[in-house]
Amino acid sequence: MKDKRNKPYTESDMVNLVNNVNRQEDLRYNRRSFLKAAAGTSIALGLSTLPFSVKAMVDTFEDEENRQEITKLADLPKGSSIEFHYPTEEESALLVHTKAGELKAYNNACTHLMCPVFYEEKDEVLLCPCHKGYFDLNNGHPIAGPPQRELPMIEVEVKNGTVYAVDRKYRHG
């Protein structure tokens, strides 16, 4: 009885032509609404850049010199590294004394997803173990893996056998 009620009274295709037409959907989803949605998305994306400008204007980022002692050079043999914090306690950094005798320092939060970056002595490279991101030890630029931006470089100075962090550059090289 139920089956008979729900079946169309004829199997003819010509009569059942309009069975695939859904009026409510046709009214809601059509080319006009697609264009309006695209325009709305475009405007929303354009305006969503404004908070970044406002934040850039409002925030006071460090521009005065910030000199901090890291360690004594004698305590850092070649081919080793030490962790410190610069310019604030929340921002961890890494000072590397390379095998060639150079001092390289970077903030060691991976530019991919902020995992800590470590110094690999064997290959003289900076490695992020989370997603196997590799950074060049000499300039902090990504050489493999997902990171796209270089590590912020910390300028160091040696005075009287002590290593100091003096400045930071976000974009370099």
Binding site: A38, A39, S42, I43, L45, L47, T49, Y170, R171
Partner: protein, 63 residues
Amino acid sequence: MGNKICWIVILLTLAINVMLLQWTINAYLGHEFERVFLYSLLACGSASVTLITVLIWRKKEYQ
């Protein structure tokens, strides 16, 4: 401005705004604030173009 041109302009500005948003975020994370302002300004300009185009399209479509 024909309807077809309105379509092209709107879809083009959509693609442009997607790119500008990504560049803005990248510039902000890299502390390149002049670029943040520039890209933001361009994005707002592009959004204005989209809005004007939508109004022109609406007038033509529903007349």
